[in-house]
């Protein structure tokens, strides 16, 4: 039997497939359909310290091979999550990755303290990349200093694995991965959604109430793979890759580019029962290639120069 297990910092996962934050509720919504303990992990919907209502509808719009969302991080807040949702996730055997967001550095640290005191959390994912909120999120993730400040503040208050989720809405994502590594992150996850917009030409109004939203789905996958590749060349800590994964082949693409694990987001809306298909596809690939451990594929991209078929006339 092929070994699908991977390790993110001190966290060992039975397989590399994590449900992406914002695409799987608090996990409990799916517990009757999906055996949560079979997933590598469940990244729950982003939490602020307090409850938030998010943006008015319309919150999503479909675009070619993708979708825009501007939910606005509606959520129940960190304390209610710990008291109301975490016990069931624990009971179901889920590896829980808690995605957190703050308007200030102190808010990130305060939530991290609450989670550090709770029992049954696998890792903290720092949302420094949400494009849909006016304060916090991407405000930190678009500045090297902000990235560093949030990570080091959280690092000081918790021993849990800390994984900032990077935004692709920067010129050089690898420099942010380096900043994260230097600030003490155990891993980085990328990419969050691409800032985007859609307009109804009949009414000339934006399709989303928030005007701007984040693009996800297979449309973004090649850019996300490129960014994972760039980060892999720049840092030593593990990368959790995501962006439009729909098939086992897509998972493999991210892992070969350098991701130790991946998150599956938008695909989960299309096919909530996608997980077993992905597992089967990964095992079939390993069998076909005679590979016993999936982790051997991480960063296995072949970059040897080929003999040019025709010489350039320089």
């Amino acid at each position: 039997m092929s070994d699908l297990s991977v390790t993110i910092g001190s966290l060992r996962l039975s397989n590399p497939l994590i449900a992406a934050s914002g695409c799987f509720g608090y996990g409990v919504e799916y517990a009757d359909l999906v055996a949560l303990d079979t997933l590598g992990g469940v990244a729950v919907k982003g939490l602020f310290l307090e409850e938030r209502e998010g943006h008015p509808p319309q919150r999503i719009v479909e675009t070619p091979s993708g979708m825009l969302n501007a939910i606005g991080l509606q959520g129940i807040g960190a304390r209610r999550f710990v008291s109301e949702k975490l016990p069931e996730l624990k009971r179901r055997g889920a590896v829980v990755v808690v995605n957190i967001c703050g308007s200030t550095v102190d808010e990130y640290a305060e939530i991290a303290r609450i989670l550090d005191d709770a029992d049954g959390i696998g890792a903290i994912e720092l949302n420094i990349s949400c494009p849909n909120i006016s304060k916090g999120g991407m405000m930190f993730g678009c500045s090297l200093e902000g990235t560093h400040d949030v990570i080091s503040a959280v690092r000081r208050v918790t021993a849990l694995p800390v994984m900032p989720k990077l935004t692709p809405n920067v010129t050089d994502v690898a420099s942010f991965a380096v900043a994260a590594e230097e600030a003490g992150a155990d891993a980085v996850s990328l990419v969050n959604t691409f800032l985007a917009m859609a307009i109804d030409v009949e009414t000339r109004r934006p399709r989303l109430s928030n005007v701007l939203g984040g693009l996800s789905g297979p449309a973004i996958r090649p850019i996300a793979v490129r960014m994972v590749h760039e980060c892999h060349q720049a840092i030593k800590i593990p990368i959790v890759g995501m962006g439009g994964i729909m098939t086992a082949e897509d998972v493999l693409e991210f892992m070969i580019a350098g991701a130790t694990a991946v998150q599956v987001g938008t695909a989960n809306f299309v096919d909530p029962l996608i997980w077993d298909k992905l597992f089967d596809g990964l095992r079939a690939y390993l069998d076909r290639h005679g590979i016993s451990s999936l982790v051997d594929l991480v960063g296995s991209l072949e970059l040897e120069e080929r003999t040019p078929a025709c010489k350039s006339s320089s």
């Binding site: 509720g25 091979s65 809306f269």
Partner: protein, 272 residues
């Protein structure tokens, strides 16, 4: 518990240039479905369109032996998926996840049931009417469309003992004007002592108007909303509805889990 089936299309019945009924072999979905629930469907496996779309369960289908064999959905050709469904052919497959959402609450034994439908908003009411057949209290359908060509399944509802009140925008069938016209008269004519439960499904302005009209007569309305929906399972938080409980601030509530049926009087229509 909802199931996801790659269901075979049994038939596609064109009702007009815009409306059709697609029947699928999905007994595991149909057996569980209760009036008002919905199914998330996707006709093709590729990425355009990517997401599923929500549809009310229109009819529960039975084989000659009376066993539940599938369900149908009422489709109106508007966007990409509905155009595809308009042209779908028997033998093709339709991915169906369901049943999802909360069902209509049944009326009390002595309570009349008044259904108010606009256009494709007829969809959830056939199964509701079927579930009310055995009752003594009256069941009525106030049903509006653009023209006579836009009103369907009238004989089916009549055969279920439903009293019809039809309206068309152009006056080609029933009363000319909006469905709220005959509804207003009926509310005026009905003794306050008679208990009535109203159900509405259709364009948002219609559902708001019905809710407000019924409220002026001291009656509440259950509305079945059609929000833009990403997953149908509570994962994406896109289908939220602004709901205000008495004395509470407005909250965004997921239509897929707590709806699609809501007490119209609790909805903050201005924010919807």
């Amino acid at each position: 518990m909802p199931v996801d089936v790659d269901a075979v299309v049994i038939s596609n019945t064109k009702l007009s240039d815009f409306y059709n009924v697609v029947a699928v072999a999905a007994p595991d979905v149909a057996r569980q479905a209760r009036p008002g629930q919905f199914v998330m469907v996707k006709p093709d496996k590729d990425y355009d369109p990517l997401l599923r779309r929500p549809f009310s369960v229109f009819e529960i289908l039975r084989d000659p032996a009376g066993r539940v064999s599938g369900f149908s959905l009422l489709n109106k050709r508007i966007g990409v998926t509905t155009r595809r469904l308009y042209d779908i052919t028997p033998g093709e497959r339709l991915q169906c996840l369901g049943p999802l959402g909360q069902a209509f609450e049944s009326p009390a034994a002595d309570q009349q049931a008044w259904m108010v439908a606009g256009g494709v908003g007829l969809a959830p009411f056939l199964t509701l009417a079927e579930s009310l057949v055995e009752r003594l209290a009256a069941t009525r359908l106030f049903y509006g469309g653009r023209s006579a060509d836009d009103l369907f399944y009238l004989e089916t509802f009549e055969a279920l003992g439903v009293r019809l009140e039809l309206t068309t925008d152009d006056g080609s069938r029933g009363h000319p004007g909006l469905v709220t016209g005959p509804l207003h008269r009926a509310l005026d004519e009905t003794d306050k002592g008679i208990s009535v439960r109203l159900y509405a499904c259709g364009p948002t302005p219609m559902m708001q108007a019905v809710t407000e009209l019924a409220a002026t007569h001291g009656r509440s309305t259950d509305v079945s909303l059609e929000q833009v929906m990403g997953c149908g399972l509570g994962g994406c938080y896109s289908c939220v509805v602004p709901v205000a409980e008495p004395g509470q601030p407005t909250r965004f509530v997921r239509s897929c889990l707590q709806g699609p049926v809501f007490d119209g009087g609790r909805i903050d229509w201005d924010q919807l």
